[in-house]
Subunit: 338 residues, 4 copies
């Protein structure tokens, strides 16, 4: 059995990590670290874990050694914290934004502060198995990409060489991405039913997508009525004359033929003909789809931001790194209707 501990365990990504790790046949949860609730029962904060665990939250001061340490702590705080705890585990998997970008210049442009652990920046392998499976099998520092970034990267990856460099991404997200302490503007009465364009230009995940796809990416992001769920609609231009939907389908199929968590969803008709996060909640799938209109290509992806967009991807990486079957503990297929 592998002992895994979670820092930031009282947040939404932290709770999802605990749910997955508690249900994982090869993992024991070591500690659930929380600054806000040390000593409190875990199921008092994550009520879906009632009867699943008797764990209580621990203070960061009591952090013990473990095999794998997962950080679901806030951006900016993580770069200070991670160097102080990384020696406690053989592997560290970070879900924050602090170690996703390769250099301090990019970080400071997108996060607005100076990076405090610049030496570590280049040492993390992106927690995206579809692009970095081999590296992840040996990585001791893993940084899981942002939820919208993962969706966009998986939507666009099969198009490498088939489209021009400029891509416009339109991302939509539920409210859980704002976290469990999101403030008054995320009160139910304010956020309910909203179509809130919170990033009309320059969403921070642009940099991650650009880095991992090599494309010139612009990203707009809108909060829509949902708790979980991310969808990206990517607009690109074909660089080839002959890029019809048949060719697109072939490209996607070849690219993802062996991927356990990427499904191609691109049907001619039906209310589920393209990727929709609703049927993915709780699952680790990223569904990808596409359409063409002359030289204009639309690529679409959907996922659960707390799963494939965060905690599920982290567990997938843990499985890869520890030599376990990649889908272990991640088999839940999602619900319909929901």
């Amino acid at each position: 059995m592998i002992t895994a501990s979670v820092i930031g365990a009282a947040g939404y990504l932290g709770g999802e990590l605990l749910r997955l790790l508690i249900g994982h046949p090869q993992v024991t949860v070591g500690q659930a670290i929380s600054t806000r609730f040390p000593g409190k029962r875990v199921d008092g904060v994550h009520p879906n874990l009632r009867a699943q665990t008797d764990l209580t939250f621990s203070s960061i001061d009591d952090l013990a050694d473990c095999d794998v340490l997962l950080l679901a702590t806030p951006h900016r705080a993580t770069m200070d914290l991670l160097p102080t705890v990384m020696s406690r585990a053989q592997q560290v998997i970070d879900l924050s934004g602090d170690f996703r970008l390769p250099d301090t210049t990019a970080y400071e442009r997108h996060y607005g502060v100076t990076h405090t652990a610049p030496d570590l920046l280049g040492r993390f392998v992106p927690g995206c198995p579809e692009l970095f499976r081999d590296e992840l099998a040996m990585a001791d520092l893993i940084s899981v990409p942002g939820c919208m970034a993962t969706a966009a990267i998986l939507a666009l990856a099969p198009l490498a060489g088939l489209i021009g460099p400029d891509v416009q991404i339109d991302a939509r997200t539920g409210s859980s991405g704002s976290g469990a302490t999101a403030g008054d503007s995320n009160l139910h009465a304010e956020r309910s039913g909203a179509m809130r364009v919170f990033a009309p230009v320059r969403h921070r995940h642009e940099a991650e997508v650009a880095r991992l796809t090599g494309l010139n990416v612009r990203m707009t992001a809108t909060g829509v009525e949902a708790v979980r769920g991310v969808q990206v609609v990517c607009h690109a231009t074909a660089s080839l004359d002959e890029l019809d939907e048949k060719a697109l389908r072939r490209a996607y199929r070849e690219h993802y033929a062996k991927e356990p968590f990427v499904r191609i969803v691109a049907h001619r008709r039906g209310s589920h003909r393209l990727p929709d996060p609703r049927i993915l909640l709780g699952s680790n799938y990223c569904d990808v789809g596409f359409a063409a209109d002359g030289d204009r290509i639309t690529a679409i992806a959907a996922l659960d931001n707390l799963m494939k967009g965060g905690s599920g991807a982290a567990v997938q990486c843990l499985n890869i790194r520890r030599g376990l079957p990649e889908t272990m503990g991640l088999e839940f297929p999602g619900l319909h209707p929901l």
Copy 2:
């Protein structure tokens, strides 16, 4: 023109008061008082008022005289505040819970603190025109009942003399009742889709309903997925042998024959056969309906908690007190679908 000022103008009831008063043909808004946002534009907090007003919030320290003063301030704070400001206006209309109950004992039992203005308690006329229209026409101190209390009172009033004294009320409410500063448990991600029984017994509005109907009332309250809207389902026992639905209909029709804001909704079939707050949002209607099964009577009412359950009722009272047509400024009928 009547000058009306609002204290607590940055909250949800305050914003609804401003919307109604700005659109009222016989009222000018004097001041919009806010502790949190003095100096800030009103439409920065209430975005639906863009292009309706250039008002900015004022500090309570700058409160000026006006004709009618409306308080949409929190419970407990209001009993301290009201005595200090009531001399600034000819009439005071309070939307808080602090002056709804007739004596300090009842208040302390339901609000858990000692009342700090006991001398005023008995001087307020309940802001329920259907029961107190004549008194309201002369009242200088008006206390608007709670949103669920108003719904229950209007559902039950026609049954006086027809039912036994024990009534069980099951109330459901949206999230706006928790206010604009409701805290983490009301974050969208937490509150969305909830069926949250926040008062399994002893909801505080019991005392108001009991007082105004003379019944022995028990009230359970549940937060359901909605921002605005209250519905009550009241369970009673007929005290007469012959209380079928025909007799019930006659009782409701006679009772509400002349009421401008109470509609009887009790049809045999159809998805809108009984009161549903959804079609009432923004309107000042309280819809009431009923059904019978032997000696068991179900009485149902629905309203918009920020309108007939609060700010709309307050403006209706203002109209009555100032001799204006009772429906003035309250004509919006509601939307369907929504």
Copy 3:
């Protein structure tokens, strides 16, 4: 391996049965029978089953023998169908309402038609393991109770002997209970945000609850904004002087000490202090809770109507009948937030 086939497999309960049976380590799905979609891929109707199965729907005319036959067909149609197919399997588990009541009189009063298979009526064991586990272990005809009935029965069962006979139940339900062919009044634009009292008196599940609890039950039912999820709030009167919350807790704990799918949720504070179906979606739990105010008792239960209120209960019964671990294939704990 057990071969299980599903009739009515294109509906919501049918889809949930398929999801559970496909993921069940000891079951193979024989056939998925659908009148509407014979020959069509199952995952074309249930998109969450993409990559889980390559099954196509079969016609009822092609029904083959199997070990366990599960019927998720409509009320009224089932009583005609079941006698014609019951010989094809060793066990039949019916999820419709047609075999829940013990005699034709009760059926005709609540379903408005004459029962066409009266000889079978008394032969079904109710699919409620908490009350009939021993009988289910030997039953070849099992009838799963209605979703609201199961919730109410589990909320009330521990109170046997502690409360008077009259109980008022207030049930709330999501839209999936109306099925996949629910008609225009269940269009999203009509049903969204509704508080639709569709049964102000005499909800049909009254008879089931009365039968299995021995109480004199009245049930009101309201559709609220949700797709999945049922909650019941039951109002009863203590028959003992000393029935405070401590005594209630003891009664519930003793009653459900060994139940794998009933959790007691009755905390003093917190937004999840009482049962809420939101955290149960996809899980097989029924959470039960309670509160007391003098001699008035409020008992509350919540479940996912497609799981513990239908398909999950059916699989639990299958496990019991076939001697498998009762929780097999039903381990998903639910999501939070969602």
Copy 4:
């Protein structure tokens, strides 16, 4: 008083027309024509109109003369119907898609059928006062643009001459746009919480936007969780070197300085800093906003599809054509929170 009749009065746009016309101080509703419900009370279909009207639906066979005839009938049916009824009124305002495009070729490409009234196609003035106010003042045939088209046109109009010709539009819409007879794929259980990309390329409103803006427009459309409400996010490229947000603000302000129903919403911060349809429901506003990132321009608009995107625009056109104040009957400002 002007007599106005509505054909297609039982649909959502029809119901909204009735609500507005009943509340309009200078209009009397002549007839509410419905094929589905002749003889039935209007408020049986539109429950928000209870106590507003005693009208019953009339059959098209009984259509009488009136001053203004409004058609809220389906695409394809309207082109057959309109020529047979246009002589009954001085003005005809069509809300369908059948007379929005200037020629039969464009129509057939986007609607997939041959146009049956090609002679009329060029005779309609688009019901977009911001572009055609003078023509509308004299028009006897008016065709209201599609809801997403209106939003996109108003978002883009101020950018004429400032951006390059290629524009990508990402539109999001609620479920009411699918109408009151939308079919099983729009059932609440199916549509709830969806992010359904129903037009990944080539949404039909492309042609309208292209026609009225002169741009080369591509439009993607997604159904999101909402009943009412449309939002468009338009991606364009500046054709000038110096198109920063200050210049954009100046362009929008100048363009819409005198428009009663267009508000510029482009703030630096806050949860309502950009257009969101939620606060517009029931109102006739179209809010427009913008942002720039280098040479990339994002233009955003939001409206209520049944109001400014349909029935509200129709009444605005009626006001203009009949010489009434343009805002008459359209003063409702919208609700917050909702």
